[in-house]
Amino acid sequence: MSVAMSVKDPIVGIDLGTTNSLVAFVRDGVPEVLRSREGRNLVPSVISFADGAPLVGYAAKSRKVRDAAHTVFSMKRLLGRGFEDLKDAAQGLPYKLLPGDGIVRIEIGGRAYSPIELSALILKELKLAAEKSLSMPVRRAVVTVPAYFNDSQRQATRAAGRLAGLDVLRIVNEPTAASLAYGLDRKRQGLIAVYDLGGGTFDISILKLHDGIFEVLATHGDTALGGDDLDLAIARIAAAELKERDGVDAFADLSLHAELLEAAEALKIALSERDSAELAVVSRGYRRAFARAELEELARPILERTRGPCLRALKDAGLRPEELSDVVLVGGPTRLRVVQEMAASIFGRAPNTSVHPDEVVSLGAAIQADILAGNNKDFLLLDVVPLSLGIETYGGLTSHLIARNTRIPTVAREVFTTFADRQTGVDIHVLQGERERVEDNRSLARFKLAGIPPQPAGIPRIEVTFLIDADGILQVSAKELKTGKEQTIEVRPSYGLTDAEVERMLAAGTRNAEADTEFKKLVEARNDAEPVLRATEKSLPHAARLLPPAEAEEVRRRFEALSEAMRGKDGGKVREACFALNRATAKLAELIMQEAVDQASGQR
């Protein structure tokens, strides 16, 4: 406790999950999950706008069905993505995505939000929880992402942190973070696989644990595969049966759609503990018994999709399954027996289910935060980049510069020149992915090398440096080789926000925060003034009788003034008017009280 108390500027670890989020902190060398403001360990990653004001957590989750039109969840599936490439990933999400180029937007209550802004609301809630729990301001954090997140998704996560008022010191891969918590006691060494199936994402990482070094050998995954998909499969069965029975299209009705997904999730959780359970859609009076075997039947083809990534990761690490000393399961869905069986079948051994599947990632993030704070000098994470990085060349082909599973940080350099005389700019299209054709890979950004001195074609030589930092995020710089002069680069992220956009949002956020405080002041002032106003109203008839005419007039005038202020929007004015009325009625109140006492004694 004493150590934590002496900390001035703590760094917390945050697991920003598809379904649930957590914040953790290392106190005296021991990582622990910090309680949410709702008094729980988990903060459901759900946001609901009640009368325009955002709620986050269980309060928001309880409105999923009741107010489906103003409630969103699984934001992580949308982070760093565009409308077009979301057609599959957003399938079965009961909210409205707006078509358009670049980053996708969601319409809630007539306003368009980016997934970054919405994720920032969750991060802000975690920040507040940590501040309450640690009793000090929290400005810095380590945030985890799926290992298989691409550059856009990582950038989006970092931008969300900034919007929430957090300096994201490090983006850490979830399975890597989990391994830190798993290997905390140092007794666990050797080669391990972390099989991390979350709400919406799947990662497999192969690591070597050696004397406090956590070295990732290879990682693979699927950023659109998780427990959500099991819920959707169950919900589809109920939807089909409801269609048959009642003729309703359950997925066309936001509220019913949300109810179906919620009922499916509840069923899935129940079946992780029992052999049979009931799927209940209360609003339609629909009930259906489900056997565990039935769920397993549904789940198997979905889970089978984890096999390919696991085998590829093993191959990239140059290992056979029997060389692993442990297979660690992480993520809520790994509580299901059928998931454990799938992992066992892929790796040919019983998996290790000893770590807390919901909490281990946040605990690992807190350990990494402790490392960055300089408190833990024994541990070190060595990670890799999950996807190859390349640039577009002639004929729409990709020229790969950095191979997947390269250790990070890493640098690649490429020299560019001009094709036309007096050309002053060169466009560079940066891509991420393993494929040959540009359109099969993911567009990360377009850069323009500008301000090249006009020269004959092929003469300028501009060296571009592609640096992937320890966060797995790309940084690009360029210099003219002859002069050594740094070159200007304009960045246009394909599915992200430009720095200017983030700045604008931050500014708007501050304005909104100011507006929020003003509004809060007004509400509080009104609440305080209301009883004063009502009491005065009752005593007004006595004023003419008990007070000299000038004083009675003063009370009336002050009463009118407060009524007027209450109709306005200025909390300060309400307070002043209330104070003035209170002072004006002090004598009257005393006289009325005296009269009441006299009457009471006279009667006796």
Partner: protein, 201 residues
């Protein structure tokens, strides 16, 4: 002793007194990064030990609160160390890197003579008889494996000779030719994979 002293090795990367990472110099290469001699055969266990040791001293996670220059040097040095480690522990990548470093240009490679005939025979039968093609595919694969293991043994011998004799030019050039031939086999193997896929469908 083949390897320089421990303190020597770390002092290349970080200041022995204050621990801050040194700025990268243009003359540094993958071998100097690990303080190992320019050789084709490296001790992988020793490389790993040095990689972990240098990572502990150099990784950007150790310099979160340091100056901008120190952070930049840490990222650049760690990048060099990462790339060097990836290359030195992979015999083929190491071979290509060392040949390039010694200024030996990779020669053009074609199909090895002793494989050419059966390769063209295989090509001929592809469009005509799948039955015959499958048989010839198997024959070709056997021949390819033989040539491959012969090439690899020649490469190992040349690498050993080169390491012992201090990288003489003519040995390096011979090695480059054999190495290119070995690379060519790899592209042949990929072609075979495709052919097998077609025949089995």
């Amino acid at each position: 002793m083949a390897f320089g002293g421990e303190a020597d090795f770390l002092a290349r990367h970080v200041c022995a007194r204050c621990g801050s990472p040194r700025a990268l110099e243009p003359a540094e290469d993958y071998f100097t990064a690990f303080a190992v001699p320019r050789r084709f055969v490296q001790d992988r266990a020793e490389l790993e030990r040095r990689f972990y040791q240098a990572s502990r001293a150099l990784h950007p996670d150790r310099f979160g609160a340091a100056s901008v220059e120190a952070r930049k040097a840490s990222v650049e040095r760690m990048s060099l160390l990462n790339d060097a480690y990836g290359t030195l522990r992979d015999p083929e990548a190491l071979r290509e890197y060392l040949l390039r470093l010694e200024g030996v240009e990779p020669p053009k490679a074609g199909i090895p003579e002793d494989l050419a005939e059966s390769w063209f025979e295989l090509q001929d039968t592809l469009g005509e008889s799948p039955e015959l093609a499958r048989t010839r595919l198997e024959v070709f694969e056997t021949e390819l494996q033989l040539v491959k293991s012969r090439l690899e043994s020649v490469i190992r011998t040349l690498e050993g000779q080169s390491d012992r004799e201090g990288l003489p030019r003519e040995v390096l050039e011979k090695l480059a030719r054999q190495s290119q031939a070995r690379n060519y086999l790899r592209s042949l193997e990929r072609d075979l994979e495709r052919i097998r896929g077609k025949l089995c469908r």
